[in-house]
């Protein structure tokens, strides 16, 4: 059995999205390290895994995938019976599925562009010896605050973003949230009580702890 392989970097937000999913599902896998600092993701060898030259890439037997959110969805469906259920409780209910899918689009288009920029400014720039641009931080935080206001209203009604159970929609947020909690941007989460509670719930999960090691 060829097994599951993830080609990525243990610190990368997108790679972590996939690692989280595999841990939630208790699946064995091999993490093949891609040296981002050395530009390994732009080499011919890696481009054969993901022509866009971005981590992560993924293999399950002879199935090759890229785009972290496509990979997590594949894992959630393919291994539906195993480990944590990451889909809605009734996976055949199309309206419920659509609500989860909508939440995944919100994460991808409303939340992640802002959260990733902030993580870049506060955390990753420093690793590359660059300095945080406080003007960018202020601008992106103002936008993120508005998004989190919507989340606050949503999480008043429901325990998690797609309903009352933990799903991929929540999981997709975890890696960026974990980074931002270590930065001044943390206040945007902690000053909103329902968002704060949700953040505490999703980051204390055993799988969420595992990816930090």
């Amino acid at each position: 059995m060829a097994g599951i392989k993830v080609f990525g970097h243990a610190a990368s937000i997108s790679t972590r999205r996939v690692l989280l999913t595999l841990h939630e599902k208790n699946l064995d896998f091999e993490l093949v390290h891609v040296d981002l600092k050395d530009g390994e993701h732009k080499t011919e060898s890696f481009l054969s895994h993901n022509p866009f030259g971005k981590v992560p890439a993924f293999e399950d037997g002879d199935l090759k995938l890229f785009e972290s959110r496509a990979i997590t969805q594949y894992i959630a469906h393919r291994y539906e019976g195993q480990g944590t259920n990451l889909l809605q409780p009734d996976s055949k209910n199309l309206a419920q599925y659509a609500i989860m899918a909508m939440g995944m689009q919100v994460e991808a288009h409303q939340f992640d562009p802002l959260a990733s920029k902030l993580a870049w400014e506060h955390v990753f720039k420093l690793i590359y010896g660059l300095t945080t641009d406080q003007a960018v931080v202020a601008e992106e935080e103002a936008k993120l605050a508005k998004v989190l206001d919507v989340y606050e209203a949503r999480l008043k009604e429901f325990k998690y973003l797609a309903g009352d159970t933990f799903t991929l929609t929540d999981l997709h947020h975890i890696p960026a949230v974990q980074y931002l909690l270590e930065t001044p941007t943390k206040k945007l989460f902690t000053e909103r009580p329902h968002v704060n509670k949700w953040v505490a719930e999703i980051t204390k999960r055993p799988a969420s702890q595992k990816i930090l090691q």
Binding site: P51, F52, L63, L65, F66, E67, R69, A70, Q73, Y74, H77, R78, L94, A95, Y97, A98, I99, A101, M102, M104, Q105, V106, A108, H109, Q110, P113, V147, V150, A153, R154
Partner: protein, 263 residues
């Protein structure tokens, strides 16, 4: 074809009837609600209340994405205009449909959705037996590949291409000027994406597989706009991409979406 009749606004009837008409909403008297059926209605016309409502405008790329899926599926729907100029999308009652204040939103019975790509996926799943197939039927592997290319459109293509469309087209509509340096930088990024599409389309009829899927459909609105600008050269200079653009923009369902803009 659309049969357009003047009529008074009718309160929701207790029973379903069949009809195509132009219904006027009292709050938007200058922009009527547009009700469409994809097929000719038989005469005499009867009255229907479409269970699918789309809140948006035909100019909006995200709205067009949803309209394309509805036409591909031959579904009846009502297009309820949102007065963007008046900022209606940033206020109630629209915010109750999409708290992020963006068009489109869709109502199907008592389900309300926003995010165009979640809406199209719902349409493809819920109405999988109607009209064109927009997802390849099959096992987890086929579905997974479709999701890859759906994500490619959303994460790699659209962020760049829609910024170019904004620079070249929408800025002009809002009285702003195109920034040529920004266009150049963005096009430099887009060509790298299109080179990857060229390689992909050399191995596959359409992006996800050999059939037309949502992964292709999602590109239509922004490509439609860019093909009306100098950026079209980027698509036309790549033979497989060029062929793919011609195929997907020639689809009858897409022609209906474009037609809506002319009204």
């Amino acid at each position: 074809m659309i049969t357009i009749l003047q009529s008074q606004l009718l309160p929701p009837p207790p029973i379903k009837l069949r009809h195509s008409s132009l219904l006027f909403s009292p709050s938007q008297h200058s922009r009527p609600n547009l009700k469409f059926t994809s097929k000719s209605s038989p005469s005499p016309p009867t009255i229907t209340m479409a269970s699918i409502k789309v809140h948006g405008v035909p100019m909006s790329t995200a709205t067009m994405r949803v309209l394309a899926a509805l036409y591909e599926k031959d579904l009846e729907f009502e297009l309820i205009p949102v007065d963007m100029r008046a900022g209606a999308h940033k206020q109630e009652p629209f915010l109750s449909l999409n708290p992020f204040g963006q068009i489109p939103a869709l109502q199907d019975g008592d389900l309300t959705l926003f995010e165009s790509r979640a809406i199209t996926e719902y349409i493809a799943d819920e109405y999988s037996e109607k009209g064109e197939k927009l997802m390849c039927p099959g096992c987890n592997k086929v579905k997974a590949l479709t999701k890859v290319w759906l994500n490619v459109e959303g994460q790699q293509f659209d962020p760049i291409a829609s910024k170019i469309a904004f620079e070249r087209i929408f800025k002009g509509m809002f009285g702003m000027t195109t920034d040529p340096a920004a266009v150049q930088e963005l096009e430099g990024k887009l060509v790298r994406v299109l080179d990857i599409y060229e390689a992909r389309l050399s191995k596959s009829e359409f992006l996800a597989c050999d059939c037309f899927t949502l992964a292709d459909l999602h590109h239509l609105p922004v490509i439609h706009y860019l093909m009306g600008t100098d950026s079209k050269a980027l698509f036309e200079s790549r033979p497989k991409v060029c062929e793919w653009v011609k195929k997907i923009t020639a689809r009858p369902a897409w022609a209906k979406v474009v037609d809506l803009q002319k009204q």
